[in-house]
Symmetry: C2
Subunit: 401 residues, 2 copies
Amino acid sequence: MIDATAPGRVGDVRRRNLSLVLDSIARTGDAKPSRAQLAAGTGLTKAAVSSLVADLVESGLVSEVGLYRDGERGRPGQGLELSSRRGVIGMEINVDYLAVGVVDLAGNLRFHSSVESPNRGLEPATVMERLGALAAEAKAAAATEGIAILGGGLAVPGLVDEQRSVVLSAPNLHWENEPLNPGALLEGAPLGVRLSNEANSAALGELWYGGGPADFLYVSGEVGVGGGVIIASELYTGPGGSAGELGHIVVNPDGPSCSCGGAGCLETFAGQEAIFEAAGIPPGALEERAELLLAALRRRDPQATKAVDDAGRYLGVALASSARLMDIEAVVLGGHFATLGEWLRPALLGSLERHAPGLLDPRNLTLSGLEHSGTLLGAAGQVIRSVIESPFEFLLAAKLA
Amino acid sequence: MIDATAPGRVGDVRRRNLSLVLDSIARTGDAKPSRAQLAAGTGLTKAAVSSLVADLVESGLVSEVGLYRDGERGRPGQGLELSSRRGVIGMEINVDYLAVGVVDLAGNLRFHSSVESPNRGLEPATVMERLGALAAEAKAAAATEGIAILGGGLAVPGLVDEQRSVVLSAPNLHWENEPLNPGALLEGAPLGVRLSNEANSAALGELWYGGGPADFLYVSGEVGVGGGVIIASELYTGPGGSAGELGHIVVNPDGPSCSCGGAGCLETFAGQEAIFEAAGIPPGALEERAELLLAALRRRDPQATKAVDDAGRYLGVALASSARLMDIEAVVLGGHFATLGEWLRPALLGSLERHAPGLLDPRNLTLSGLEHSGTLLGAAGQVIRSVIESPFEFLLAAKLA
DNA sequence: TCCAATTAGTTTTCAATCTGAACTATATGG
DNA sequence: CCATATAGTTCAGATTGAAAACTAATTGGA
């Protein structure tokens, strides 16, 4: 990102064009474009593209993948692709599990591992130690696949200060103002480890690797109800970093009080705990309760059906308000809500139609298809995107090393 | 605005630095900076600033205002300011009145005029004709003051397609898909006339000329309840251009049906009509009803007080949800709500505290101080900002003419 | 087999633009 | 009246992409 109030230098032009070319290669993906195609696609001259690509290849971000001929006349082009020998480790701390994955620059999940871990109330140091073991596994896997690790992304279910790597508040983990030092998980990675919010990362995962549109609201139904706002293919976090908190939208001013101190929040009607309770699912392990709920829904148990219907209806109220306020025309349901999607959808759509008729095309209300890797992909993707958006800085660092 | 996917050219550097310097002059305002101060402020060299300023002065956007000496040693600097001999005409069509104003580049309202005009249901052509007469007044005033008019901004209470100058939908005027040809109002102005939404323009007016913060939600209480979202000192309009529609946030899922087809919208509780009705104000002219309501409030009439309390409470619900969703920490109340502010505020703050405790500092809930010129200033300001952000294009046009 | 046509990619020249340093211009104060 | 200080200009140098000429590699037809 170039500071809008900084003076423009002649060299900025190259920064921008390096990013433009790298981004074109990333977007073209499997097609493996030649320099000539990049020139046509970007509007740059062949000469400029050649010079830019030379820098990118030298840094290791881009590889030449041999000539390709497609039966046409003329000299064949050199195919170019994001290097599959460079990658980022995505990591996730959630309430009930830990997960890691190796994502190469092209966005392929090359390794994936997760373990159950009841992290609620555990000391951050303990959790980080367990995660460290998983990260070591991922590093080893990357090494055997010949992938050099550039950096990592760590998603947690809470509000974070990305700059200082502090978890400001993660109520479901009972963490508050915990500095995390995630860099220690990936000693020696040139880009370090970036901390992020779970719902935001999942939204970005959906955008980059799940075929999400340029503008949508991602709704994360984990233990809490979270959300991520994607506007013009960018994450909107708001001035304080906590935008998209769908769980605490007021859906009924006379509703019960909420853990946030407010009253009538969506989470009191559509949070996991609220649904389980309304459905009459007895307390217990999360996994088991989810299974019980699904079983009850499948056998059309009236209490469970009503609980999910109510949740869907209130979710519809929240989405109607959100879509109106932010002019958002697509919604992706993730986590818990993706699992319940089939049963949730009718009441949700009915409620949307009642409160904001015509605002959201039902076809634009989709369920996430990334299952449990969306957050991971998004967390890693943020580091990958930062390289694609600012390759110049990366080139500099590579040249010094 | 530079297209992010367009290739960077060497010349882009100058585009950007022209804007940087012009913006610095605009921001410095009354201080009338010298070239040397601009160099220090922007980070450019004196040589670069001199060259850039030369272009800006030649185009007429910037004027030298003579030497200034502040008792220091050394050669005194040439003060620079946005030319007060260039201006833009702001225009407003609202339900009950028309207004115009002349705003110079520095943001001074140099002329202002408005007339009552019951526009609801009138043909757009009729309204535009009346507005044309007002615009002619403004042009004449600008001529006598020696202000060359570069362009105009026209705000209407409805959703617009800015590119095609079409009013897509203005329910309170009973307009639907009306092409407007606002350029005819200002024949010969090089930048033409830009159509915009009333609430959005008012929000921008607040931002640029009312001392608004970088992030806030502007709530416009005209006949409908509208809103404008300012994020990072920019208007957020959403992918479809209708963001900020606070009036149709659902504040009570069991509430009455709304003109938008939905149910339980804020407008059904806090719209002008809803308040008048709940307060027992008989039908009649808007101005008179507003006076009656204020009188009733002043004498602590219980029905009127309750009506405004209810509106405030529901506005609080809407603002709690909005602030949570978009992570917005400041709100400016305009129009009707600014007038009722004193009576509205207690219930509004109480409701905010109940539904989102601690989210919004009461000091950040302010009333607009621009009164009836905010919309005008914002409409004109959009044209002025477009010049400040892209002076290169303006210079080119000026050179051709 | 060989050459024209075609497409890919490189080299060269040129213009735009900023930086940095040297220079000119104009004030203050002893 | 001159040393000092600050404002602003001029000019050489570096970076960069455009444009055009050039080299490289392939296909297809004579």
